[in-house]
Every structure is written in C-alpha cells, then in structure tokens.
C-alpha cells in the first residue's frame, strides 16, 4: 500500500471508529510517518477530492461522507455519533459503515425534524425529499457551500 493510500485508510477508519476527525499526529503514528509526510499525503488526497482540508492544510474539514465539524446532519450508529457534510452524506455514513443507523436532520424550509431509520438495505419508505441547489458541474467549486 502506498503512503497516500495508507493515510487515506487511517483517516477514514479513525472517522468510522470515533466519529471525529483525527489529529495529524494520530495519523502519523498510525502509519509510521512524520507529520510533514502525512500533510503531503493530505494534499494529494484533497486534490483527488477524498479530503477537504482547513486553511492550515493539517486539519480535516471533510472526509466524505464524514464531517470533521458538527453539522445539522447527525448520524447515530452502534453508539457512535457522526456528523455528515450534507443530506446525501447522511445516508453515505451508514452505506460506508455497512451498519444500521439513525439519521437526524431537518426540513430546511420548515425546520421540521427528520428522524430516519436506515437499515443495511437503506431507509424504509419515506416521502421526504433531497434537493440540491448547485448543479453537478459546480459541486466542487465550493464544496462546503454545496
């Protein structure tokens, strides 16, 4: 496994285990590398759109579907609380974990709470809808806004 892949797997597995973004030193220890090498891998992974970094290039804002910061899209699975980057990613977390989960979010217009049970084959029947204002060609122009 090359160093970028090792860093990617370590970051994603840390999110999956804890629901939180790892410190760069934690990843460095897990992969047996220095902070600088890990930061370089972060940069490569960000170019491949597998990570979104904060301005310092060391803190992880997103490892889609996981969010490194609290959001309105919360997912509970096996006793761990996760934050998703968006509505799509809130279903992406149980899909990535291959575990049943509960998704907590809201209707953006009315603020009515959403609580959705998601089994290993997906959510049950639901009339709630997903809406994205940004066309697919522009999603990554400002992925935090998207």
């Amino acid at each position: 496994m090359d160093s970028d892949t090792a860093v990617k797997v370590a970051v994603y597995r840390h999110f999956a285990d804890t629901g939180r973004a790892p410190a760069i030193a934690t990843i460095a220890e897990l992969v047996g590398a220095g902070d600088q090498e890990v930061q370089e891998s972060y940069g490569h992974l960000a170019k491949g759109r597998l990570l979104v970094l904060e301005a310092d290039g060391r803190a992880i804002r997103m490892a889609p579907p996981f969010s490194g910061v609290p959001t309105q899209h919360r997912v509970l699975a096996s006793g761990v609380t996760y934050y998703a980057n968006c509505a799509w990613d809130s279903l992406g977390i149980p899909a990535a974990l291959h575990r049943p989960a509960e998704v907590f979010s809201r209707c953006e217009a009315s603020l009515e709470p959403l609580r959705l049970e998601v089994g290993e084959r997906g959510p049950g029947s639901s009339s709630w809808l997903f809406h994205c204002q940004v066309p697919a060609a522009k999603w990554w122009q400002d992925i935090v806004f998207t």
Partner: protein
C-alpha cells in the same frame, strides 16, 4: 444538499431566496447514490466516480439533464 418534507417546501424555500427550484430526489434514489459513492470508502482501493461514470450513475437512477451532468457548461 438538503432535506425537505415535500416539493411544496422546496418551492417555498427557493422562492424565499430568489433561487430556481432544482430537480428533487426521492429517498430510495438518494440511498442508491449513497451506496454507489460510499460503500467501499473505508477500503484501500476506494475512489470517487469520475465524471463520465457519474453521468451513467445518475442516468440509471433517472437523474438526467444538464443539472446532473458533471461536464455541463450551461450553468
């Protein structure tokens, strides 16, 4: 990328912001997108779908037109 209770709520939210309503996605379609994007995300070989692949994924779910085209230049 947000949840809404109904199409009426989508229109209400867009109208209040002077934004055009976009196509809505059902929850079963969203689950298929989530699985396609993320089911292997914890594995070493995982990767994001490329643009041509995305076109096929969206089309298979009935999500077609320039809005869903990652290579569209009409926006």
């Amino acid at each position: 990328m947000l949840f809404f209770r109904s199409e009426e709520r989508v229109r209400e939210w867009c109208r209040a912001r002077g934004l055009p309503p976009r196509p809505v996605v059902r929850m079963d379609q969203l689950w298929q997108l989530a699985v396609t994007w993320y089911a292997t995300r914890l594995e070493p070989e995982s990767r994001r779908p490329g643009a041509p692949e995305m076109r096929g994924i969206f089309a298979a779910l009935g999500l077609e037109g320039d809005f869903w085209d990652p290579l569209a230049d009409s926006f």
